[in-house]
């Protein structure tokens, strides 16, 4: 395998023709890209480490669907181009390439200038975003971190981001990575370095499309991994060395330890799948339909006789639209679209007519813009779909959909065209915001005169507001037409100004005004007639209206789908974190139910088999619901899992939890009520600590439920460091009953009494029947406020 071109961006050239290779390497070298040449499309995976900026594939190698799919999958962030020889002409090959995300097909001569121009036209020049690209160049991550649990989250985020450079990492791989690396790091921090912050934890990771390999090393004295028993085996459960190694072995595809055991290497495979060949699109591609449709509209509104032509397989001109009227091909009168890869041209009839020619030019520009806009939209759609597959569980919920095509980008392109064609000095687009009843500036082109970006639709001194309110085109040249306030503002001889309402007609036929398009001022020498101009503007306004509305809907759908996907995943994961109670049947009769108010919540319970037949039981309730709460919940579960078997005092355990979580809790203004009790059946006692949890009870014999009072305020209140504990008697057959305030709100006393009454009535029934009775009592006592509802019952 060739060495990696350290520090230099590269271009991958795939060709076996010496003259082609020479031409291409010179051209990419001229751009400052390090050329890397391969002569075959077989075993492309050998080059997965390349991370090229540009991939140019010679069509003479005859790449098919499978090869292009591999290229796209292996080099997801690279610009893919095809190249063909001077005499070659294989349209099918080009179409195949384009279908897989290839952006352009080069033909000789390929020079540095040609490449540079093409890259500029798609907005990708080497050096555009150095940070992102440099990151992309390296497959390896090396980190040296202090022994602090808080670094885990950051390290995992970094690794997951790197994996997401490849499409082959899906949910399964990323979730496994998160949990496995988290376990490995907490092992290194808590056991290897014994929490000593002066000691370091080192991470070395290597990512490619197939797998990520992560080595975690600590500065501890190591241990013998062979001596760590399977924690599910009898008696092993309280062995502190259980340490999540079991979990590591379950999640990672390979786990190896260094000789002394102070370093562990995890290998996790990606969700790589063999490329799937997609069905080709219909005979008239999506792009052609778009162009024909746009042409029809321009023809209708301009009155000009415009025709659309394309160049077919054999390089012959072919008439595309209008369907009902053919015309003679005249290559000299064709206005070719500039979008790369698109061989379409606009022609005006009769040739030579000045106004018709101008319309043809305008139509060509508009088609170019529209096509560029469509392809950007398609890019973002693909990007977003990709991102959705790569959901990063709990951390990226706050991430905005950064890659979406912004309305500003789309509209500013359109406005640029408007200004150029109408000869106006400037143009602006204002979009209606229903929540504030304002018009908000979405885009503008040309020297702005107005300092504001927001104007009320009821404003008496705004031309835009007037056009919007009355839903009609306002021309400032028609004097006498203006309300008083406006005339005062603009003076008796205002500059040319046309404000056109932008409307959207839904497929159902209803038309809504969604904004206003302004075209203002006039550069000297412009001649377009007012009538034509107005008609043009109205056509544009309709186009913009659809664009605005489609984009809005599109964004709405995407964000909703993304959110739902994440929530489902988070729910599944959260439910998986809760213990499987069937593993405890031989030590206790135990049942629990957890119903989050939203897909994820902040209630949780956990159970531990401890030494000498003791049982540890925990119930927690993080204030607030949703993602932030579930994150705290997951952290608590993992910290408790680490400390519970090592700590004999429940108060100490809460203190450990306090220190692990306090920063997170404080920064999010949350706290957590938590009950943790250790039942010791041999000594007939219950040792517990209760941090502000209101509903914890013990049932003994026929006595009324005994409340196990809080021994401290809730967890997460910074200045409160001490967690008290209490010791009470525990007779065999006693019942521990814990529940969260989701079962009692909004009326603590009445609802709690109802739940306790149900517990009392079923106190001699199996635990699961008690839990069922508690939820039933809850549902009978009125509409609950939305909160997570959890009940936990244990008889031992």
């Amino acid at each position: 395998m060739p060495g990696r071109e350290e520090g230099r961006r590269s271009a991958l050239v795939v060709s076996q023709r010496p003259e082609m290779v020479a031409e291409l390497t010179e051209a990419v070298g001229g751009l400052g890209l390090a050329p890397r040449v391969i002569s075959t499309l077989d075993h492309l995976e050998a080059h997965a480490d390349a991370r090229p900026w540009l991939v140019i594939t010679d069509l003479a190698l005859d790449p098919g669907d499978a090869e292009w799919a591999s290229l796209a999958q292996l080099f997801p962030r690279s610009t893919l181009w095809a190249v063909m020889g001077a005499g070659d002409c294989d349209v099918d090959a080009v179409i195949t390439a384009f279908r897989h995300g290839c952006l352009d097909c080069l033909t000789p001569p390929v020079t540095r200038e040609v490449l540079s121009e093409k890259l500029a036209s798609i907005g990708r020049l080497p050096g555009a975003k150095p940070g992102e690209l440099d990151r992309y160049m390296s497959n390896e991550i090396r980190l040296e971190l202090p022994s602090d649990l808080s670094v885990i989250e950051h390290a995992i985020k970094l690794l997951a981001e790197r994996c997401r450079d490849y499409r082959s990492y899906g949910q399964r791989a990323l979730v496994n990575l998160r949990i496995a690396v988290s376990e490995a790091l907490s092992n290194a921090i808590l056991y290897g370095n014994r929490g000593d912050r002066s000691k370091k934890v080192r991470i070395r990771a290597n990512v490619d499309a197939w797998a990520i390999k992560v080595q975690v090393s600590d500065e501890g004295s190591g241990f013998d991994p062979r001596r760590v028993p399977d924690p599910t085996s009898d008696g092993a459960i309280e062995e502190p060395g259980g340490r999540g190694l079991f979990l590591l072995r379950q999640l990672a595809d390979d786990v190896t330890f260094s000789e002394v055991g102070s370093s562990v290497t995890l290998t996790l495979k990606s969700d790589w799948e063999e490329p799937v060949v997609r069905e080709p699109e219909g005979p008239l591609g999506g792009e052609a339909e778009l162009l024909v449709d746009l042409m029809d509209r321009i023809r209708a509104s301009s009155g000009a006789d415009l025709h659309l032509w394309t160049e077919n397989v054999d390089g012959l001109l072919q008439h595309v639209a209008p369907l009902d009227r053919k015309t003679e091909a005249d290559p000299s009168s064709l206005h070719w679209l500039r979008t790369p890869g698109i061989r379409y041209a606009v022609q005006a009839q009769p040739p030579g007519d000045e106004e018709a020619e101008r319309w043809a030019e305008f139509a060509r520009d508009l088609l170019d813009e529209a096509f560029a806009y469509e392809s950007r939209l398609a890019d973002s759609r693909r990007d977003l779909a990709e991102r959705q597959e790569e959901i990063e569980l709990l951390h990226n919920i706050t991430e905005t959909l950064g890659a979406v095509t912004r309305l500003e980008d789309a509209t500013s392109q359109i406005l640029k065209g408007v200004v150029r064609v109408t000869g106006a000095e400037r143009a602006s687009l204002w979009i209606y915001d229903p929540s504030s009843e304002d018009l908000v500036l979405a885009a503008s082109h040309g020297p702005a005169r107005l300092a504001t970006e927001r104007v009320s639709v009821s404003s008496g001194v705004s031309v835009s507001a007037l056009a919007f309110r009355e839903n009609r085109t306002v021309r400032l040249e028609d004097v006498g037409d203006l309300p008083e306030g406006l005339e005062e503002r603009l003076g008796p001889t205002p500059e040319p100004w046309v404000a056109v309402p932008v409307s959207y007609t839904s497929p159902g036929g209803a038309t809504r005004t969604v904004g206003v398009l302004n075209v203002i001022g006039r550069r000297s020498g412009s001649v377009i007639s007012d009538v034509g101009e107005t008609r043009l503007l109205m056509t544009l306004a309709r186009q913009i209206g659809s664009a605005v509305e489609n984009l809005r809907l599109f964004e709405e759908i995407l964000s909703r789908e993304k959110l739902i996907g994440e929530l489902n995943l988070a729910y599944d994961l959260q439910m998986k974190l809760l213990p499987d109670l069937s593993e405890f049947t031989e030590v206790a009769d135990v049942a629990a139910r957890c119903v989050p108010a939203r897909p994820v919540g902040g209630d949780f319970y956990q159970l531990f088999k401890l030494s000498d037949g003791k049982i540890g039981a925990m119930l927690g309730d993080v204030t607030s619901h949703g993602f932030s709460a579930s994150l705290i919940m997951a952290l608590s579960m993992s910290v408790m899992g680490i400390y519970a078997r090592e700590t004999t005092s429940p108060g100490d355990l809460l203190r450990a939890l306090h220190h692990a979580l306090i920063q997170k809790l404080e920064s999010t203004e949350m706290f957590m009520t938590l009950f943790y009790g250790v039942i010791d059946p041999a000594r007939e006692r219950l040792f517990y600590a209760n941090a502000g949890h209101a509903h914890a009870f013990r049932l003994h014999g026929t006595a009324a439920p005994e409340r196990l009072l809080a021994t401290s305020p809730p967890l997460g209140i910074a200045e409160y460091g001490g967690y008290g504990e209490a010791l009470i008697q525990w007779a065999p057959g006693d019942v521990l009953c814990l529940f969260t305030d989701g079962l009692t709100n909004p009326s603590l006393k009445i609802a709690e009494a109802a739940v306790l009454e149900a517990v009392d009535r079923h106190r001699h029934d199996p635990a699961d029947e008690i839990v069922a009775a508690m939820f039933e009592a809850r549902s009978r006592s009125g509409e609950p406020a939305p909160d997570d509802q959890t009940a936990f019952v244990l008889r031992a």
Partner: protein
């Protein structure tokens, strides 16, 4: 939830009516912090007509109490109904606030 702000001597009194829950707690928090920024130090939140505070509402009260204390001020609560009073006792949050039965009692020696 509604709340009104009034002043008595140097004490800022915030009267809360309705529920203090996850949906509206931010409003209360923002306003109290604004008052804290503008120099108020002694705060009394009066829950005369408040039936219910959920756990995130409690979270806001704890957070506010901390921020006010950091600025050398104090937050007192008054007029909690029986349910809320019980809630504060059961969660031991009553150890973190001065809680008075009535507004008058809360204002004594503030």
């Amino acid at each position: 939830m509604n709340f009104g702000v009034s002043h008595q001597d140097d004490v800022t009194i915030v009267e809360v009516t309705g529920q203090l829950i996850v949906g509206n707690r931010q409003e209360l928090k923002d306003d109290v912090l604004k008052l804290l920024e503008s120099g108020s130090r002694k705060f009394l939140i009066d829950f005369k007509d408040t039936a219910y505070i959920d756990s995130s509402g409690l979270g806001v009260l704890v957070g506010l109490s901390k921020k006010i204390r950091e600025k050398g001020g104090e937050l007192r609560l008054s007029n909690l109904n029986e349910d809320l009073r019980t809630l504060f006792e059961l969660t031991k949050l009553d150890t973190l606030f001065i809680i008075a039965d009535s507004r008058e009692r809360a204002l004594e020696e503030f």
